[in-house]
């Protein structure tokens, strides 16, 4: 996914049109944050998360709806302002629209902001696929005193317009009926055409005629439409045609300045049409001072903006830990009870070991950190729903800029505190490849929720009352290392400035507790499923390695785990880690929580872990600190690694990201060990 605009190959997939007559494929397109995903949910009866932050949908989601004999397949595209894609998420939308030849495109238009949305409409109308307009958030528009004449809009665009309120499901039935009606006619209808100036129209005709007679265009593009795209500056299409050895009149012969002029004229023609249609169909009845302006005034204040944001984060941090604590204690007590029961039942020692150490220990280590993660997701989604996160990105842009990052990188960082995997996926909203690579390399230094159990264990055992401070210090340390890495990569590898920060700010909304809870549940469940399987499996593997070969003392140096650990341990001797810690680190690669689980197994049981650690003479507070630092910084987990590879699109950069993490972990842990010893010695 990590490609410069213009660099990617057109992935014109060949879609077979051998579908059943009653199968209808539609795409949902529209600007970011207009309610596409909400409509998708009500169309398909599923619960995808919707956000109040541009770019929540970064990949195409598919769903189905059955209406009588018709089966409608719905694809939800990432939001896009136009079809000249600059960011990977926009490219996804553009490619889907142009290559998959759906039966119809439904464009969702935000009724409170028709004119800006119509710009995309002017592009959709030209593709030659039937378009249906769904006018969303009509209730909000009414509230704001905006009235929209849907019939006038329909008459001007010459495509069906349906009023809907996606949130409540109002108008959905009518929309579905319209879709079926439009697609059954099998023609794109006769949509409004743009009025280009004479010179542009001439170029379009000329190039269109040339293309029509010389080549078969990819994805069944009409020659006329291809000509317009070329004139608008579609570099991918130009490259594709060049590779076929075509010299296209005007495009290849005129100078860039003239072509820029033409592209700008087309842009203006689109805006004029959008403006014309808006003027006739939209009435704004009130001239108002908007409360959002007043609120923005304070929240994005030059001086107060950052402190306000930091206070919100401080409370979010406090809540994540304090409010989750009772649940955590409860879960620990329940599992302690299970283990007791297990030990009191008379059974084969091998089976008991499997059940008590393997199964209960494993499940326990997964469940113990669940409350923290759920609360963190809940708080993040509440913040997002209010519309504040986008303002926070603006506020943080200056800070991010000074360390060589883009303001938008900040949201992935924030998500990274919950889980690195969605954070890395969220980097798709960044435009420049350099910004994206630097952000992806630095995200794993954001201490994700999975590392917390390790800190809670070690800080609790070795630092007692100061545990909270130590944990907070680790979070800060992660951020510092991220800043340092960003600076290094920006100064040495990707010289130059981060790309300019431009972002649409969503409207403020009152967060809905239900929506936030739903989001928390789906995010948390997804996480639980993935983590649960991986961690549980990991713990069982550790248990097996600690038990085999048969007959050895459980978790001793003679077991397989011990043999592996002792073989690798010399590498970590400068950091003072014993072989148990090393085995923990190795298995931590599966998922960081496994570190606790596997140490629990190696030290003979989760519930005795704390006392065993405290009693181990090779472990001192400074070694514990170095270990926590190492866990914070070293490899991301397998899942994160997979996403890094996917988003980087190159093994080389994936390798660099991993190598950099291990290097930083080793260096910083070494420094922590010696600085810690020095302080304690003094």
């Amino acid at each position: 996914m990590l490609l410069e605009p213009g660099q990617q190959a057109w992935c014109w997939s060949k879609h077979k049109n051998e579908r059943n007559m009653n199968d209808i494929r539609i795409l949902l397109a529209g600007n970011p944050n207009v309610g596409k995903t909400t409509l998708f949910n009500s169309l398909c009866g599923v619960h995808q998360h919707t956000g109040n932050y541009p770019g929540v949908t970064v990949e195409i989601k598919e769903g189905k709806r059955q209406v009588n004999e018709h089966s409608i397949t719905v694809s939800d595209l990432p939001g896009t302002y136009s079809l000249s894609a600059f960011t990977p998420d926009e490219q996804v939308a553009r490619d889907a629209l142009l290559t998959s030849r759906p039966d119809a495109v439904v464009q969702i238009i935000d009724a409170t902001n028709v004119e800006r949305n119509l710009f995309l409409t002017t592009q959709l109308l030209e593709i030659g696929i039937p378009v249906v307009i769904a006018l969303n958030m009509c209730d909000l528009a009414d509230e704001q005193g905006i009235t929209i004449d849907a019939e006038c809009l329909e008459k001007n665009l010459k495509v069906p317009v349906v009023r809907i309120v996606a949130r409540t499901g109002e108008g959905i039935e009518e929309l579905v009926d319209t879709i079926i009606r439009v697609t059954s006619s099998k023609t794109p209808g006769n949509p409004r055409e743009l009025e280009y100036s004479h010179s542009i129209a001439t170029h379009v005709t000329e190039i269109g005629a040339f293309l029509g007679s010389h080549t078969s265009l990819p994805g069944n593009l009409s020659p006329q439409y291809a000509a317009i795209r070329l004139l608008e500056g579609d570099e991918c299409l130009e490259k594709t045609l060049h590779d076929q050895g075509l010299v296209i009149p005007f495009i290849d012969t005129s100078d860039p300045a003239e072509r820029d002029g033409i592209a700008e004229d087309i842009l203006l023609a689109r805006y004029h049409l959008a403006e014309e249609i808006t003027t006739c169909s939209v009435r704004c009845t009130m001239g108002r001072v908007m409360p959002a302006d007043l609120i923005d005034h304070v929240l994005t204040h030059r001086i107060f903006g950052i402190p306000i944001f930091l206070s919100c984060m401080w409370f979010a941090f406090q809540l994540t830990f304090s409010a989750a604590n009772p649940f955590l204690v409860g879960i620990e007590q329940i599992f302690g009870y299970f283990t007791e029961v297990m030990n009191s039942i008379d059974m084969d020692p091998f089976v008991r070991s499997f059940l008590a150490d393997g199964v209960i220990g494993g499940v326990g280590s997964v469940l113990v950190f669940v409350p923290n993660i759920f609360i963190m997701f809940l708080l993040l989604s509440i913040l997002e729903d209010t519309g504040y996160l986008a303002r926070a990105a603006f506020v943080m842009d200056r800070l991010m800029h000074s360390i060589g990052l883009h303001g938008r990188s900040f949201i992935p960082f924030l998500i990274g505190f919950g889980c690195n995997v969605p954070a890395i996926m969220a980097t798709r909203t960044l435009q420049s490849r350099a910004d994206r690579i630097i952000t992806i390399i630095t995200i794993p230094f954001m201490s994700c929720a999975a590392r917390l159990p390790v800190y809670i264990l070690f800080a609790g055992v070795f630092f007692g009352a100061a545990a909270g401070n130590v944990i907070f210090f680790l979070y800060v340390l992660g951020i510092l290392v991220a800043v340092l890495s960003a600076l290094i990569f920006r100064r040495l590898v990707f010289k130059g400035e981060p790309s300019p920060f431009i972002m649409e700010l969503p409207p403020y909304r009152r967060p809905s507790g239900y929506a936030a809870a739903l989001h928390m549940w789906y995010k948390g469940r997804e996480y639980l499923k993935r983590a649960g399987i991986v961690i549980f499996g990991g713990v069982l593997v550790v248990w097996a390695l600690a038990t085999l070969p048969a007959g050895v003392e459980y978790g001793s140096a003679e077991s397989l785990a011990g043999i592996i650990g002792e073989a690798v341990q010399p590498l970590f001797a400068p950091l003072g880690f014993n072989w148990q810690l090393v085995v923990g680190l190795i298995f931590g690669f599966i998922a960081k929580e496994v570190v606790v689980g596997s140490l629990g197994t190696l030290y003979g049981g989760e519930e005795m872990l704390e006392s065993s650690l405290a009693a181990d003479p090779t472990l001192t507070p400074v070694v514990a600190l170095a270990f926590m630092v190492f866990v914070l910084l070293y490899l991301p987990c397998v899942a994160a690694l997979g996403v890094i590879r996917q988003e980087m699109g190159s093994w080389r950069w994936t390798g660099i990201a991993i190598g950099w993490g291990i290097l930083m972990a080793y260096i910083v842990a070494y420094i922590a060990l010696h600085a810690g010893s020095f302080i304690i010695g003094a």
């Binding site: 304070v298 306000i308 809540l319």
Partner: protein, 148 residues
């Protein structure tokens, strides 16, 4: 705009009082957290105290702006109140969580710590201000004038 349902001048005066109250509450939290004062009915909390001082700076800015710039007063007061109330809610949850944890671990805990955070004292003072100001803010958005 003098025929307002809420007397602006009273609300404006009240803002001054809340400014002082949040500042004192924040200062006491910090001092208690640092160990200079003990035995007060306020939870020791240095970061929390700093946040209270920040909120009092927001209220203070509102007071200063209010002399010439009424929308400025409204926006700063509204956000400061909102933050204070939300944080007070968070403080109750945080202390409640800690309390519950202690109980579950079978240790001694004093239920009064739940409501002894300085945020709550300051938050109670800010409630009437919040309702008054949000009413004015809402009117700003519905075609009315923010200026008197």
């Amino acid at each position: 705009m003098s025929d307002t349902t809420y007397p602006h001048s009273y609300l404006y005066g009240w803002t001054t009082i809340v400014t002082l109250a949040t500042f004192v509450a924040g200062l006491l939290s910090i001092l208690e957290g640092a160990g200079f004062i003990t035995g007060l009915f306020i939870l020791p909390d240095i970061p929390g105290g700093c946040i209270l001082v920040l909120i009092s700076a927001l209220f203070g800015t509102a007071v200063v702006k209010g002399k010439i710039d009424r929308p400025g007063w409204i926006s700063f007061t509204y956000i400061a109140c909102l933050l204070l109330l939300v944080f007070a809610g968070c403080a109750i949850l945080v202390e409640g969580g800690d309390y519950l944890t202690l109980i579950m671990e079978g240790e001694e805990a004093d239920i009064i710590t739940i409501i002894s955070s300085a945020f709550i004292w300051a938050g109670i003072l800010a409630i009437p201000l919040f309702f008054g100001v949000s009413k004015i803010l809402y009117r700003c958005s519905c075609g009315g004038e923010c200026n008197e």
